[in-house]
């Protein structure tokens, strides 16, 4: 193994160590998600003023946009850990990639349905085959494809490698989702919040949006760690450290 990687990285990659580490971090991440989520929703639903054009319907933005960002962010994490899983054959990377897929699919599903609920009063239609909407739907299908392929194999690790390969190919769709509003003429509006340069949104609306974005990030880490812990128990069922846990939780 390369010398430049510190020892703790190798240690963290071992299932029992990561199981313990994730067990400590997970409740804190969940608590942070709940606190920032409550703050963001209060700011977005109560404090922020109504939009001058869209009235109160725009308030769907506070869940729609953070979930849309997460749908791409989770895919990026899944794609990167898939690369690590295929190149270095690290079991933890496989688990992270495969357990990210259902969370990403959940965020993508929320994005599509809340977008539909927002589109009906504003555009007059639940759905349109616009570049942004269609590429987001393709993203959902990619997540479902990864989940399906993973479970199609009898051998879990073989399934993870096949699904990781599909996940890597699907990365091409992430920039398409992001830039679709610039590349094509879409009904969907362009980006309002910009990383570089001033955003086209009032501060009263921007801070709840950013707080909700933070909340969904914390939630993702918490949910991922919870799922990875469970999956490690299932994968390492024959090992002593898992048997120890099974015995100690017998009273439940």
């Amino acid at each position: 193994m390369s010398n430049w990687i510190p020892l703790w990285v190798h240690k963290l990659g071992s299932p029992p160590t990561f199981y313990r580490f994730a067990g400590i971090v997970m409740p804190w991440m969940m608590a942070l998600a709940l606190v920032t989520g409550a703050l963001g929703l209060y700011g977005g639903l109560v404090l922020a003023p109504a939009d001058y054009q869209q009235g109160d319907a725009y308030r769907i933005i506070f869940i729609h946009v953070p979930c849309a960002w997460m749908s791409m962010f989770v895919y990026a994490v899944m794609g990167m850990s898939s690369v690590i899983a295929l190149v270095w054959r690290i079991k933890l990377a496989e688990v992270v990639a495969m357990e990210s897929a259902p969370i990403g699919a959940a965020f993508t599903f929320i994005t599509l349905v809340t977008g539909s609920l927002w589109g009906k009063p504003m555009w007059g239609t639940w759905w349109t085959w616009d570049a942004r909407l269609t590429s987001e739907l393709v993203l959902l299908f990619l997540y479902l494809g990864v989940i399906g392929l993973y479970h199609a194999f009898e051998d879990r690790r073989q399934g993870a490698r096949a699904a990781a390969f599909l996940a890597i190919i699907g990365i091409i769709n992430v920039p398409i989702v992001h830039f679709s509003v610039n590349w094509w003429n879409t009904l969907h509006q362009g980006s309002t919040v910009k990383l570089f340069g001033p955003s086209k949104i009032a501060w009263d609306m921007l801070w709840p949006l950013l707080t909700m974005t933070l909340a969904t990030k914390f939630y993702y880490v918490a949910s991922l760690f919870r799922r990875v812990r469970t999956d490690l128990l299932a994968l390492e069922g024959g090992k002593d450290w898992v048997r120890e846990i099974a015995r100690s939780e017998d009273d439940r």
């Binding site: 319907a57 869940i63 259902p102 349905v113 949910s223 919870r226 469970t230 015995r247 939780e249």
Partner: protein
């Protein structure tokens, strides 16, 4: 918050039928995502305990010492 203010808030400027279902879906999906691994963890550990019980029973038999057969935990 007065009763009237609450009604105004819940009405969402006439868009209640769109805003509240969106928020409801957000919470339902994320709660389901949270519960799924919790339930799976219980099932995984329950199955593992059953397997360990079977193994120790088999070992007990091969050693010649009679052990009570483990009660099946899974339905």
């Amino acid at each position: 918050m007065s009763m009237h203010a609450l009604q105004v808030f819940l009405a969402m400027g006439g868009y209640a039928a769109y805003v509240w279902p969106a928020y409801a879906l957000f919470f339902i999906v994320l709660i389901a995502d949270t519960l799924a691994p919790v339930l799976r963890r219980r099932r995984v550990l329950r199955e593992l305990r059953a397997r360990l019980a079977r193994q120790s029973a088999r070992q007990g038999r091969s050693n010649g010492t009679p052990t009570p057969t483990p009660t099946p935990t899974s339905p």
